[in-house]
């Protein structure tokens, strides 16, 4: 319990970022929804279109909506120039504001449309102009209902804002995503408690405002609004205090190795006098675009990923040739500087439990073909969409009875419990050795190599001091060292380390 408390106390800046993001999104949502609601209350056609659109937006999962803004903003750069941010605050703000639209709009329109027609006629009858009627009669009478909509929107937004982590915006989702990947439940719980607590407090304060409007007690709504304003103001103050142009932003994807390497790189840079910020838990698909657009500065990516996803190549020229080709391609096409290979590979491989493999007599992917239809294969959420899977499937003619998606951490649990017979494992994963898994051979070399590389954004590509600080990492990390560090984070119980501690141990091991 004291662990959670310590984590909670350390979440200050995430908390502030979460508040600023949520408040901005709700504010933007209100700025759009309220005038729209006034218009809609005068025109049923506008009401239909506006509510239809807002409902449609609501059907898009929040995570997808957040992710969608990356390509949208990227294409908008043609209009607004290269300075338009594609990750972080802006897309998170836009997606969450869209999400906040529906409850505000629906409540406001319903309230305005259902006002007593006799009272509205009276407003006309005593000589009110349209604007006076809106200000003196419609808005005051609709206010409690409008406030109820804003309240609902606030609770939703504060919850959904945790997902902003995946597009590189710091939020209370950071500890949740990091904890989920590293099986650090205290971290997950702390993130949940913080965001749920925030939602409850905001709900209570806005509830006070709502009741104040309904019962026409001025002190009530003023108190509520003042408390909300104070909270947002405080969060803004904390936020603006910490911003620094020279900060180097290090990204990590959503698995333990990435968290550890980000910490390792961060420690090197801090030792060299840089201030460092971490964007943990980015979606794997956006990391390359993020580093290419300098939304982040440093990432660790894998040769096979760039080869197939970015360069859209399907051939396999061999490990070194592939790396050389990537370095050139990045330099020519994106301006990203590939600093070097860390020394280990984290390739996709198919793994089975030893007993199960022996029982079926499976050693290689070729042996698996005959048993496929009776087996369940597990992969990370993106695996079955990836070109690597398609290459393997087509090379061997693999067909499985059932295909299931798991978060990387849970894949191994699924294999252990028998919920999956085969999984798409990663060769640097410590659990392969720990769980005594069999990695199936790939005689047709359908899976490309996955050398881990340090990628520098165009913004910092020319910074030789930074390059020099990271130079000691190049070629220094063996697959055994990486497995050990990964396992220290992924394991449960005794000996479990945070990514930061594991990075420190890894640094000791490789002699930094």
């Amino acid at each position: 319990m004291s662990g959670i408390l310590d984590i909670l106390l350390g979440l200050g800046d995430k908390f502030a970022a979460h508040i600023v993001l949520s408040a901005s999104a709700i504010g933007l949502g209100m700025a759009v929804a309220l005038p729209l609601a006034v218009w809609a209350s005068r025109s049923p056609a506008v009401a239909r279109v506006a509510l239809g659109f807002a409902s449609l937006v609501q059907t898009i999962p929040a995570l997808a909506l957040l992710a969608l803004f990356f390509p949208i903003l990227l294409s908008l750069r043609a209009v607004f120039g290269e300075g338009l941010p594609t990750l972080g605050f802006l897309p998170a703000l836009l997606a969450l504001a869209l999400y906040a639209l529906l409850p505000i709009l629906r409540n406001a329109v319903t309230a305005m449309v259902n006002l007593d027609p006799e009272i509205l006629e009276a407003a006309d009858g005593v000589g009110m102009t349209g604007a006076q009627k809106l200000r003196l009669v419609q808005l005051p009478l609709a206010a409690p209902f409008i406030m109820a909509g804003i309240r609902t929107a606030s609770v939703w937004t504060i919850g959904a804002a945790t997902l902003a982590t995946t597009i590189g915006q710091p939020s209370l989702g950071d500890p949740i995503f990091a904890g989920l990947q590293t099986q650090n439940w205290a971290l997950v719980l702390a993130g949940c408690i913080a965001s749920a607590g925030l939602a409850l407090v905001v709900d209570a304060l806005l509830g006070l405002v709502e009741r104040g409007f309904a019962s026409r007690r001025r002190w009530m709504w003023i108190t509520g609004l003042a408390a909300v304003a104070l909270g947002v103001g405080g969060a803004l103050f904390v936020q603006t205090g910490g911003e620094d142009e020279d900060t180097v932003v290090i990204a990590s994807k959503q698995f333990s190795e990435q968290y550890i390497l980000a910490q390792l790189i961060g420690a090197q840079l801090e030792a060299a006098g840089y201030s460092v910020e971490y964007r943990d838990g980015l979606g794997s698909a956006v990391v390359h675009s993020a580093v290419a657009s300098s939304s982040i500065d440093i990432s660790v990516d894998y040769t096979g990923t760039i080869w197939t996803n970015e360069m859209e190549r399907t051939d396999n020229p061999g490990r070194d040739a592939m790396y050389e080709a990537i370095v050139d391609w990045e330099q020519e096409n994106t301006g990203v500087r590939v600093l070097g290979r860390l020394g280990f590979e984290n390739a996709y491989a198919f793994a089975m439990r030893e007993d199960r493999a022996r029982e079926l007599g499976v050693i290689s992917l070729t042996d698996l073909v005959a048993h496929g239809p009776q087996l369940t294969v597990g992969g990370d959420p993106e695996f079955f969409e990836r070109p690597e899977w398609i290459a393997v499937r087509d090379a061997y003619g693999l067909r499985f009875g059932e295909t299931r998606n798991f978060a990387p951490t849970f894949m191994y649990n699924a294999l252990r419990s028998g919920e999956a017979d085969v999984i798409s494992a990663y060769t640097s994963d410590g659990r392969i050795a720990a769980d005594r898994l069999v990695v199936l051979e790939d005689p047709k070399e359908a899976l490309p190599s996955y050398d881990a590389m340090v990628m520098l954004s165009p913004r910092v590509a020319g910074d030789e001091r930074l390059a020099a600080a990271l130079e000691p990492l190049i070629g220094a990390i063996s697959v055994e060292a990486m497995r050990e560090a990964n396992f220290a984070v992924d394991r449960e119980g005794e000996g479990k380390l945070s990514p930061r501690d594991a990075a420190r141990e890894l640094a000791d091991k490789i002699g930094l």
């Binding site: 009276a122 407003a123 006309d124 005593v126 102009t129 009478l141």
Partner: protein
């Protein structure tokens, strides 16, 4: 003597200056004619009842005076000026309006409700004036601080009348003002309004479907049917058989009721 909607009568009165004049006023809703070519004059200081069955167009005609409804044809002249050319807020200040639905603003106090008309014109009504207005409709001046939901139906409509009078209007329009009230309150408030009409020198037009009320309060009764004016007579003339079939049909109802009541008293 039979008059139908197809041949509306044209009513003019020469006694007293006409404060209001309808000139071939028409209101259509698509194919439906709510009011079809009504012409008449209302003399200053008169108390006119506008009577007719539901859907006869009497409310629509009334609402065209303060432009709550705009005519699709013809003109309404108020003090010689076309009402649609007058500034709306200004017009509605000069015309007090009492609704069947009362329409008090629930988020305003009684005092604020009464003061709303002058407030819209940028004038603050003094507490004394609000007290005066409340006393005028026989309400306790202390009620000014209450909200409408603390009042009975009759009290609310009294506030509605006070609100209509707050701007010192020249013309008082009442659209079924007592329709939602119980008979005793209705009678008392009717007499009160008639008394205020005389005391304040108002011109009053009251829409009602109750011929007895019209006959007892007004000094001139206009009868509408199917969007047309079909009778225009004094109460006395109507009781004497004037006004045609529709008007007499309406007069017959209270008369027969009175006769039956009298008959019941005569036969123990």
């Amino acid at each position: 003597m039979k008059r139908t909607g197809a041949s509306p009568i044209t009513a003019t009165r020469e006694n007293g200056d006409a404060i209001l004049r309808f000139e071939q006023v028409e209101r259509r809703y698509g194919e439906v004619v709510a009011v079809g070519g009504v012409s008449c004059e209302i003399a200053a200081g008169s108390f006119v009842a506008l009577v007719g069955a539901s859907g006869s167009g009497k409310s629509t005609l009334l609402k065209m005076v303060n432009t709550l409804v705009e005519p699709t044809g013809g003109r309404v002249l108020f003090g010689g000026e076309d009402v649609t050319t007058l500034r709306q807020a200004h017009l509605r200040r000069r015309v007090g309006y009492v609704f069947q639905g009362i329409g008090l603003f629930p988020h305003f106090t009684v005092g604020e409700n009464i003061a709303i008309g002058p407030r819209l014109a940028g004038e603050k009504l003094s507490p004394q004036r609000i007290s005066e207005l409340l006393e005028l409709v026989e309400l306790d001046p202390d009620m000014a601080r209450r909200t409408p939901d603390a009042l009975s139906g009759g009290q609310r409509q009294r506030v509605g009348v006070a609100r209509a009078l707050a701007g010192d209007p020249e013309l008082l329009l009442m659209d079924e003002p007592f329709g939602a009230l119980d008979p005793i309150t209705r009678d008392a408030l009717g007499n009160k309004v008639r008394e205020l009409h005389t005391k304040l020198g108002l011109t009053t037009i009251m829409v009602t479907h109750d011929m007895a009320e019209a006959l007892l309060l007004a000094d001139r009764v206009l009868v509408m049917s199917e969007g047309a004016l079909v009778a225009d007579d004094t109460p006395r003339a109507l009781l004497a058989g004037a006004g045609g079939k529709v008007a007499q049909g309406l007069v017959a109802v209270p008369r027969q009721q009175a006769e039956r009541l009298a008959h019941m008293e005569d036969t123990p």
